[in-house]
């Protein structure tokens, strides 16, 4: 459940987001819109990476403005560039890092990490240097590491940009399906096929929420506006 009331963001005196008000309980939410329209900024407010300069925002029952730390525990975030998200040298260590942050006892970590990697088809790459994974494998690893903490809400910012048809479908299936274990998934994407698979779509333009509703209809209006 996401509840935003007049949310605005101003960075360095520049207005980046303004007057976003919405109440969402659809399990799969797509966010679309032009480059620079504020999608990533909106996504970042959801787990407290960006603090709204006005308005109130509640995600998964947590007041994001007042308790950004608790919000980050409840909300997982997947960046579009997996390189930026993979923090340790090998997949096993990287997933282990998330498990530690989730408070899993040290002794259990190797086993749990191996399990998590296996779920994403990365078992045999557990100890390979992460930089040498393919784009698709990196994106899967980033997802595995985020999900390892068991977030109640998952926000993914352009999670399929580097992927081929097969891998994009695989990540798409995971996010749009129930494989992530999250109650609610928010997907920011330029891939309109992926957006179409969600339950509701939001469209941003110039820092404002300008359209929302059935994904098919929101996408059709977006296409019409661009053409």
């Amino acid at each position: 459940m996401i509840r935003a009331e007049g949310v605005g963001v101003e960075i360095d005196g520049a207005r980046i987001l303004a007057g976003v008000t919405l109440e969402l309980d659809a399990p799969r939410v797509a966010v679309i819109g032009a480059n620079g329209s504020g999608k990533s900024t909106f996504a970042r407010t959801l787990n407290g990476l960006v603090t709204p300069s006005e308005g109130s925002l509640e995600v998964a029952g947590v007041d994001v403005v007042r308790s950004p730390k608790r919000a980050r525990d409840a909300v997982g975030f997947l960046f579009s560039n997996p390189d930026a998200q993979i923090l340790l040298p090998t997949p096993a260590e990287d997933v282990g890092l998330s498990l530690r942050a989730a408070g899993i006892p040290r002794a259990e970590i190797p086993g749990r990490a191996a399990e998590a990697l296996a779920r994403f088809g990365l078992a045999e790459h557990a100890d390979q240097p992460a930089y040498s994974l393919s784009g698709g494998q990196k994106q899967l690893l980033a997802l595995a590491a985020v999900i390892a903490r068991g977030p109640r809400v998952l926000v993914a910012d352009e999670p399929t940009t580097l992927l081929d048809l097969g891998n994009a479908r695989r990540i798409g299936d995971l996010l749009a399906g129930s494989g992530t274990g999250a109650e609610q998934v928010v997907i920011v994407t330029h891939d309109l096929e992926l957006a179409a698979r969600c339950d509701v779509a939001l469209r941003f333009a110039g820092g404002r929420l300008v359209d929302r509703g059935d994904p098919g209809e929101v996408i059709a209006r977006y296409r019409a506006d661009v053409a």
């Binding site: 960046f79 998200q85 993979i86 923090l87 040298p89 942050a101």
Partner: protein, 195 residues
């Protein structure tokens, strides 16, 4: 990145960068090596401050420079007082401050581009050095700094988003990302036939 240069139209601003560098070298050496008395030391500082006026700067500009050296000045004075006595401390500190202010004045009145060109011209006279490659590398670095800073910010954000604290280990992640960026830049240099 905001350069330390302050735009202006004063005689000092209009002077070629090469001339200013040469002038700084001569003046800095003179001020440093001259066997100062308290009076000549104070005189060189006064002359330097007058040059700031010639550069069209209000006193607040050099005052701010001195203020930014406050700790340096304090320690200069303290160490020299302790080891050398009052008058030498005064002379020594005045002299050092004058030289630093002179150098800062050149930086304040010369745009980065003009300084790069002046250095390139200087290097062109040194045999065995490809001056263009040097100044090109400097420009490449100026372009790379915000990219590396961006990578560092990404890593900070990602660790926050994941709720983990990496501490100094984050430098390894930064090195990996930055070196991969470098290798991509190397490919782009090759592809564009620049080098």
């Amino acid at each position: 990145m905001i350069a330390l240069h302050r735009p202006g139209t004063s005689p000092l601003h209009r002077l070629p960068a090469g001339a200013k560098l040469a002038g700084l070298a001569v003046l800095a050496l003179a001020v440093s090596l001259w066997p100062h008395t308290a009076w000549t030391a104070a005189g060189s500082l006064a002359a330097t401050v007058a040059l700031f006026g010639l550069g069209g700067f209000a006193p607040v500009v050099w005052a701010r420079q001195v203020w930014s050296m406050k700790w340096l000045v304090a320690i200069l004075v303290a160490s020299q007082l302790l080891f050398l006595g009052a008058v030498p401390a005064l002379i020594g500190t005045t002299r050092v401050v004058a030289v630093i202010l002179l150098a800062a004045l050149v930086t304040l009145t010369t745009p980065v581009g003009a300084m790069i060109d002046a250095i390139e011209a200087l290097l062109r006279r040194v045999p065995g050095i490809d001056a263009w490659r040097v100044s090109f590398t400097v420009s490449l670095t100026i372009a790379a700094i915000p990219v590396v800073a961006g990578l560092a910010a990404q890593i900070r954000e990602a660790s926050r988003a994941r709720g983990v604290r990496l501490g100094v280990r984050s430098v390894v992640t930064l090195l990996v990302l930055a070196l991969r960026h470098a290798d991509e830049v190397g490919d782009a240099l090759t592809a564009r036939g620049v080098l």
